[in-house]
């Protein structure tokens, strides 16, 4: 964050943003974060139920002041139709991880056990490597990665979070 780069914030926020599905919109939104010096933990984008709109989910650490400044700057962008801070107690949050770990006879049983416990899935199997798929909240993904480190992570990628409100509440364009 500007002037506060050493400062760590404990509050985590998730913002749902509905944007017009036009070229350049992701640059516009992510560019705003860079330009204003807002650090983000993750930013994901994808289609929505209506073809004209995409949905962006932004997660970041900050305080209320930073949160409000981010909201106001987002609302100002022409392509942004709806912005909302998602109440985390009322929101389902998920992230997807694909992780490639070394496969050896010494570690295979332990890895399989971990995969089972975390409700992960092996989606590719070869003599020397396994690819695991895992969905869950960020903390669960982090814990799984931590565990896998000792078995030799070859590579991994994660999507960043997507989030949706529980119940009937929807983030719809007005």
């Amino acid at each position: 964050m500007d002037n506060n780069s050493e400062h760590t914030y404990n509050n985590k926020y998730i913002i749902g943003v509905i944007v017009s599905n036009v070229s350049g919109v992701l640059s516009r939104v992510s560019g705003m974060f860079t330009r204003r010096g807002f650090n983000i933990d993750s930013l994901t984008v994808g289609e929505t139920e209506s073809a004209g709109f995409s949905r962006i989910t932004v997660a970041f650490h900050g305080d209320e002041d930073i949160r409000d400044r981010i909201l106001r700057q987002l609302e100002k962008l022409h392509d942004v139709r709806e912005v909302e801070v998602l109440d985390q107690s009322e929101t389902v949050v998920r992230e997807l991880l694909l992780l490639k770990v070394r496969n050896s006879s010494a570690t295979r049983q332990d890895i399989m056990a971990a995969v089972e416990i975390f409700r992960s899935k092996i989606i590719d199997y070869s003599a020397t490597a396994l690819v695991c798929e895992l969905t869950g909240e960020t903390s669960k993904i982090d814990a799984f990665i931590e565990l896998m480190k000792s078995y030799g992570i070859l590579e991994m990628c994660r999507t960043g979070i997507v989030a949706i409100e529980r119940g009937e509440n929807c983030l719809k364009t007005r």
């Binding site: 640059s27 609302e75 100002k76 022409h78």
Partner: protein
Amino acid sequence: MKISGARIVVETLIEQGVDTVFGYPGGQVIDLFDELYKSRERIDHVLTAHEQGAAHAADGYARAAGKTGVVIATSGPGATNLVTGIATAFLDSVPMVAITGNVATSLIGRDSFQEVDIVGITMPVTKHNFIVKDVRELADTLRTAFKIAKSGRPGPVLVDIPKDVQTAVCDFEPKPDPVRPYPLTFASEMKLRKAAEMINRAERPYIYFGGGIILGKASRELLSLSEKIDCPMGCSLMGLSAVPADNPHFLGMQGMHGHFAASAAEDEADLVITLGARFSDRATGNKSRFAEHFSIIHIDTDCSELDKNIPADLAIQGDIKDAIFRLLPMVEEKKHPEWFARIEELREEEKRRTEEALVSAERRCREKYGTDRPPVLAPYTIIDTISRYAGDGDCIVTDVGQHQMWTAQRYPLKKPRTFITSGGLGTMGFGLGAAVGAGIASGQRAILFTGDGSFGMNLNELATTISEGRNIVIVVMNNGVLGMVRQWQTLFFERRYSGTTLKRSTDFVKVAEAFGAHGVHVTNAEELEKAAERAFSGSGVFLIDCAVDCDEYVLPMLPPDGSIDNIITDIKE
């Protein structure tokens, strides 16, 4: 009726009420220029010497007229040359539509000749921008561009049009009227009531206003408010000209180089009513020290300005004119005799400090040149003399640097939109292009105060002043140095004058003559008087090259990140 994309651009501009565009032709806008030629009876094109000058001219035009300025440039270098001008307009909330040509859609992304991603480049310095890839979307995209540019807090919008979109044909139906801005947002009644309560309780209120008053056409409401609640006011650089300089409640510009009385009054206030201003670091000084002793009401049309730089005790989003208008009946008519007695003391103090600084400067000059009549002019003498000759409706335009601050402090501005300066971006080289645009917009004479540094940056636009037959008086405060940076080097860098001594021997009078203008060098008050007489008696472009000592300072000065306690009002040695 089926017409080409290029023709659609021109027809849409005319439909939007545009009668003048500024620009420079090139390979990817040749079709557009062809249509401008065919429609030359209906729309003027002003050819500048450089695209940057065209962007500044469109900006100056917009600021003086209160209309949306339009600039046209070709792809690649034409487009990138606009960037400084677009950023200047963005930082000062100037409505502008910039139209650029681009290579044909089939060539985009191949690093074709004169191809740049101007939409990508200008994304952070525009309110919004577009690339039009389908001629059927061209007219509506341009209309939306105008709508965005002039809605709410205005700003620049860029529309990039590939060549094949300009040559493609499609149906076009002109609209009877220009697009209307998005509906205004109005301040909440409850918050205004709360503001009125705070104002009614205040014993030492102070109004800090900015350019939002001019953009929101709220000068009259502001004056009524300060009158009714008997409240002193000061402004940011962008707020200048919103109220007449001689208004008894007005203390002048506040902040880094603002008036002592304005900055001091703000510091001693118990309530600061901020109207259409954004607490720029140049207007507030040290952020953590600012607002230690007073509460803040902040009203702005742009929600994102609230709590951005300085947190307010009461932040209100809404159209500024409407907000003040509705606030007026809610506030009690007040007199603050004690507060005004104090304001008078501060004014006296300011007068004394200014006088001292002027005496010091004079003494320095006499000693330096070893004569009672040093061959240099005091900056305020230049501004005072010119202001006696200038008309009230003349546009005062500046470049950026010491001359800009002296003009902002001293020039007796009377009417909104008569002061045109690059505030937020501080763009040296802004002035001459802006003066061309401002003069065209107002139909009046433009007076450009500039320095030898700023003027040297874009003096090529002298060509435009001549080709456009403008009436411009150019006052160059020529001190042979980049004075503002030099002043910082004097104060904070132990006089190591790195890169600020110009050591040039440019003769600006000869330069003016070479372009077809007239000019004269002046080194004392008598010569200046004669020069001003000549400059203002005729028409055309007249340059007065004023010798100024390189060690004149802009005072007072709040050191960067300083407060009123650190204000420098005199430099003795």
